[in-house]
Amino acid sequence: MTQKTTETTRFTFRTLALLLIPIILLAGVISLFLSTGGGLNLESPVPVEALTIERYILKDELIEIYVQNTSLQEITIAQAIINSAVCPIEVTPDATIPRLGRAVVRINYPWNYGEAYAITLFTSNAIPFNLEIPVAFATSEPNSQSFWSFALIGLYVGVIPVFLGIFWFPALRTLGKQWMTFLMAVTAGLLVFLGLDTIAEALEQAASVPGAFQGIGIIGIGAVATFLLLDAISKRQTESGRDEAAKRLSLAFMIAIGIGIHNLGEGLAIGAAYNIGEISLGTFLVVGFIIQNITEGLGIIAPVLRDRPTLRDLALMGLIGGAPAIFGAWIGGFAPSPTLAVLFLAIGAGAIFQVVYEIAKMIQKDTVRKPMSMTVFSGLLTGMLLLWVTGLLIK
């Protein structure tokens, strides 16, 4: 784009110096402010304390609470009360936690399976922080068995349904051009629905991100950056002048990636929810996920129906779309972090909406100079309704 520049600006020492002047002045202002207080006397009259309880682990006669100090100063954990009993605690590495520092509070407690516990942690300023354990059960340890269980969960909700959807490929190939446009619109509908779902999930998760990490900001950065990055990549491919079939194949791959990241988020949510007893993964729920996610496989293959993708490509797309659910379940199950979850979900949302944009361009190319047809309208609506109706099974 910048082959012809009329004037070459040279980067001289003078420019550098001019650029540095405000920075040097800023450093001066900061050091002056730090050393004198700048005449301000606005220290907070009371300590505002914030403690994020990240997660808890229940072991035999032991409750471990993972906390992070998200306040502006250090805080000290002084006492713990479980169900109206003062319980001795051990805090590692130290009961005094620096800003943004982490600690583990260990409480020897004869908790019972299936009962509920209300825990209050008191800081030395007598600020209470509450944790509710709605149903107590031993937290699954990262051992080979639970590792395998979470892999199976990911397999059921991600890989299997996506591949099942891909198996529609031979049948759908025989359809006419208008039906293919319809299917593309269905895919776009599916993706719009998934994208909204992902954003909603990200916003929900953002609420539990420690304030200092600005959950909403992470959503913005993750989604916008992913969208623009994928857009730049797809533009470069367009410019590289490859044939239409190759472009359609790369679009299919991008859909697979978008859906894959979405499934990663889904795996994260399932793994984390399973660990704190929020859901029991009954057969009904798994069946529901399979039915809902089978449509995702359909979406992946829609752009390449008129081409002849190799079996290897199809298998790869299935894996990209489905397998992240396994990784998600592992991360969510063994090392849940709301901050990380928000980032993944935001990336997923950015990817999904970029793919929707790509599909829209492709549909437009196929239906040149026609107003949005009923085919596109009904396809898009069908896609969204498909997920809404199948969602009834798992919500």
Binding site: D60, E61, T76, I77, A78, Q79, I81, N83, S84, A85, V86, C87, P88, E90, A95, N108, Y109, P110, W111, N112, Y113, G114, A116, Y117, A118, T120, F122, S124, N125, A126, I127, P128, E132, P134, V135, F137, G277, E278, I279, S280, G282
Partner: protein
Amino acid sequence: MKNQLSRRDFLKLGALGVVGTSGVTALAQTAGKNQTRPFTPPMQGMDHGGGVIPGTGNVDHEKNGFNPGDILTDFDFGKVSTLPDGRTLREYEITVINKNIEIVPGIEYPAWTYNGRIPGPTIRCTEGDLIRITMINGSNHPHSLHFHGFHPGAMDGVPGTGPGGTVEPGDSFTYEFEAEPFGLHLYHCHVFPLARHIAKGLYGAFIIDPKGGRPPVDREMIMVMSGFDVDFDDANDFYAVNAIPFYYQNNPIKIRVGESVRIFLVNILEFDLLNSFHLHANFFQYYPTGTSLTPAEFTDTIIQGQAQRGILEFTYKFPGMYMFHAHVTEFAELGWNGMFEVTE
């Protein structure tokens, strides 16, 4: 007492119900282990072998400026003199002081105190004595001394009854009245907002002995039951006798077999409706409000509402460690728990 869990979702439990019994079994075994060694010395901190006992370590009594171990037997008879008419005059001076008190290890409570301690001094006199108590308000809030017992309205320490009703910061007032009726009473601040003024620590016991005294016993102790709402949500977080939770659990009260013990028990617990006292492996004679020399009840558990009080008398037959605590068991595990260590 806090609101407990809002709701338990039993539906979620359905599929997982089988494993439950093993947890219960484990707990039963733990309890059994405890029973086999009843003579364990003071329960303190975590006991990794024999299960968990609620409690805390010791606070910094020196920094607090008072020790429940001393308060237990600290009766203040005042500066005694004889009036021209032959009556006994007892003079006291009580200063209201704002003071941070370490209630449980690591948590300092911004208390209001009479003479820097909670409970305030245990004022003890005999029926018919003239009592003269000067209250100096060294804090930054208006306070008062309101005694239970007979006295003129102007000595009632309640806003609206004259200068003694509200003593402003820096001011002082001398309450004067004849001590009657005999019994176990109490005093506390009566300035609005009352619940907060009491909960912050402004209370103490007031004992009027009958002329000629109560029948002699070997040991006399004062126990004032109260609680602390450290996060100011109008619900107690910790409970105690003589202010420091778990003190007598960590430092058992030593008595001897056959020794007659008299406990002056006062309840000034704010926010909760009831408090109670239960003595293990023993029964006591109970004299409600101490206004009679004939016991009203022979029991091992009594209940007191706020400002109710009574005298307990008992003797231990066997040596051993004996618990005494609120049989509102929630309070016990939040601090109102103690031990008698009875030796031959």
